[in-house]
């Protein structure tokens, strides 16, 4: 049996794409997708499924592509994941499903993520939905979902499929949570998110914006006065962390959350007359080397800066960003300062003028298993920049905790849950970053789905709902 190499997925030329906010990856054509799908061994005992946080029947949906039955592929995908066009783009497949692919042992694993995206995009383009007629339990059961990010959407989707009357409350003016305000459109286009949201809406889920739960209504109020039978908290990541560096209060220093929100939420592509300032200068240094740091530095490039730099105290090998993101950033001309630890932000007249850095070398492994960076004496140097973006993670959001009596939090302010994702308040469930701290879209979705199962059990709805599929979405 001959092993073909992985079919390359077309991308925008790096020189061109840094001038726009369009999708960097162009995606497989039908022909390329079928060619890649043909490489799948269709294992009897598929390891890839074990690597998927939401246990998608991967060989099943790939078989659909091979056979040219994309509707079947989409149906199989959405049995486990309501937003495949999103996850196909943002999941770290290389450490999940693709890392388990048998072909990967000696050859290249199947491009599962790119195939998932292909099917998701096909469904978006052709307006295919899981189910046309929302199915409702009698007597009705009502669940409130707090937050319209990945955890909330996954939970809402599964509950709606089981016939629950679901209302999603979102604090911001638009839906999608981190998918909207956090992930830039060149990695996840806004219309893809909106199409996926529309599909969840068609399952019968109601969406309500401008509602900060914990403030306009408290959770006890929702359960006692507003007739909700259960509540799911998916409020996501919270406040940004800072480094306690001298000069962090200078103008020109922003958190990654602020920078990305100013660009993605307040100045979305295609919307005219946006006046929210972004505060991006000409020479931008991003501190950190995770996916969020890559999103920031690549966004800065697209805003037309002269220099976009990553500053990271460890080495490239230890950078937490996905390899694909690092690779894309390198292709686009980002400058990397690895093994460089920021020790002070320099300024003049209240504005940033540079970063004082110290060179590091790698020592023995630390508690995270990565080799510990050790400062090199006398190696300090100054990196000239006028904007510093701090992308070193987030802390918990305090609002729900402040206003929900009996809700137990851990020492970092994240919500404690049991094996069903239920909190210490009966009927109140939680999942995603507000439980685990910063993680990935798909892990949050996994938690949302697990919570949906927990909620169904709590409500006494164990039976599998009917699962017919209807492709005629014109109705």
């Amino acid at each position: 049996m001959a092993f073909e190499p992985r079919v390359k997925c077309p991308e925008q030329d790096p020189k061109e794409r840094v001038k726009n906010f369009d999708d960097v990856v162009l995606g497989y054509t039908v022909e390329l997708a079928r060619e890649e799908a043909a490489r799948c061994l269709q294992c009897k005992n598929p390891q890839c499924v074990l690597g998927c946080p939401v246990s998608i029947d991967i060989p099943g949906f790939i078989a659909g592509i091979r056979e040219g039955d994309l509707e079947q592929a989409y149906t199989i995908l959405t049995e486990s994941n309501p937003i495949p066009a999103v996850c196909g783009r943002v999941c770290p497949q290389e450490i999940q499903c693709e890392s388990k692919c048998i072909l990967g042992i000696k050859h290249q694993p199947i491009a599962i993520g790119k195939l998932e995206r292909f099917v998701g995009d096909w469904a978006v383009k052709n307006n295919i939905c899981v189910r046309e007629e929302p199915y409702k339990l009698r007597p009705p059961k009502r669940v409130a979902i707090i937050g319209s990010g990945p955890a909330g959407l996954a939970c809402a989707g599964d509950l709606a499929l089981a016939g629950v009357d679901v209302t999603v409350f979102e604090a911001l003016h638009t839906f999608g949570g981190v998918l909207k305000y956090g992930i830039p459109s060149f990695r996840l286009p806004k219309d893809i998110i909106d199409s996926e949201l529309e599909k969840i809406r068609k399952l019968g889920v109601k969406f309500t914006a401008n509602h900060a739960i914990g403030r306009i209504f408290t959770i006890p109020q929702m359960l006692e006065e507003m007739d909700f039978d259960a509540v799911f908290i998916g409020t996501g990541a919270g406040l940004p962390r800072f480094l306690n560096l001298k000069g962090e209060g200078l103008n020109g220093v922003q958190s990654a959350n602020e920078f990305l929100t100013r660009v993605n939420l307040m100045n979305p592509p295609g919307v005219k007359d946006c006046f929210t300032p972004i505060g991006c200068g000409k020479k931008v240094a991003v501190i950190g080397a995770g996916n969020v740091a890559m999103d920031c530095v690549r966004t800065a490039l697209r805003l037309g800066v002269e220099e976009a730099m990553i500053v990271y105290r460890r080495s490239r090998e230890q950078a937490p960003a996905r390899l694909e993101e690092l690779h894309h950033a390198e292709e686009e001309g980002v400058k990397f300062h690895f093994l460089s630890n920021p020790i002070e932000i320099l300024g003049k007249d209240g504005r940033v003028t540079g970063l004082r850095l110290q060179r590091m070398e790698l020592g023995e492994p630390d508690s995270s298993g990565r080799r510990r960076p050790i400062p090199i004496e006398g190696s300090e140097f100054v990196l000239e920049c006028d904007t510093v973006i701090i992308a070193v993670g987030t802390k918990s959001n305090p609002i729900i905790g402040q206003t929900t009596p009996g809700l137990e939090l851990n020492e970092w302010g994240y919500i404690e849950v049991d094996e069903n994702q239920m909190t210490t308040v009966p009927g109140v469930f939680a999942g995603g970053d507000i439980v685990t701290g910063s993680a990935t879209v798909i892990l949050a979705m996994g938690a949302g789905k697990k919570a949906a199962r927990g909620i169904l059990r709590y409500l006494g709805i164990e039976k599998e709902p009917p699962n017919e599929c209807d492709d005629d979405m014109d109705a």
Binding site: Y181, N210, I399
Partner: protein, 286 residues
Amino acid sequence: MFQIIRHEEFSPITFLWEVLAPDLARAARPGQFVMVRIREGGERIPLTIADYDTELGTITLVIQAVGRSSREMQELKEGDYILDLLGPLGIPSDIKKKEGRVVLVGGGLGVAPIFPQLREYKMKGNHTISIMGFRSRDLIFWSDRFMQYSDEFHIATDDGSFGTKGFVTTVLDDVLQRNPDVSEVVAIGPVVMMKACADVTKKYDVKTIVSLNTIMVDGIGMCGSCRVTIGGEVKFACVDGPDFDAQKVDWDELMARQRRFVDEEKHAMECFGKDCHARKKFEEGG
């Protein structure tokens, strides 16, 4: 969409909106704020709630048209709708019956939002002394409402056209000198005014609370734009505040940070003045 059911002009640049938002009005407490976005593409603006009426289901906002977005807001009249209104946000002010007297200082932009606090202090049975500051006599508003809940009421005007000539701090200093039993001062207004009040009260060692209306984007504890340094620690006005101990605020940093986007704001205003595309679209959209 949220309807403006009343628009009242206090001065060429100061105006009031009463907005229909029943759930928000029912939940609002003194000291809290809202985020307003009037149109697609518009800024999210934090505004402290100046009043709320649970029976009418409305909240009142008093706005100064000082920048691009607030100028656009001024053009919205009675019957018009705003696209987004989020709140109430922030931790409500901690208002209790105090042993001694309570002094409430409101200046300029801060006169309106201190009103719900004054009323609440009075309802809790406190002896209240209000000090309101305006640039001149023709800018004065709500003096009747303040008098209703104040045991002692003072107005200062910069030009001396009404009340004491000078700043609120002149009056505050005098009030604190005459009343050694003042146990709390609340000051809301421009950052320079709040800092000046903190300097005065420090001499008398009186607990002083300020409400920090910093530059925000989401307003719900996510982006960190509103960060302030309080007692050497980073705090977030949107979820840790907006009320803070005036003596712990890093005022210099705050004043500098409030000027972060002056260049961008200037550009947006220039565009506005020239009746550019943005304004045209705004008018067409109603």
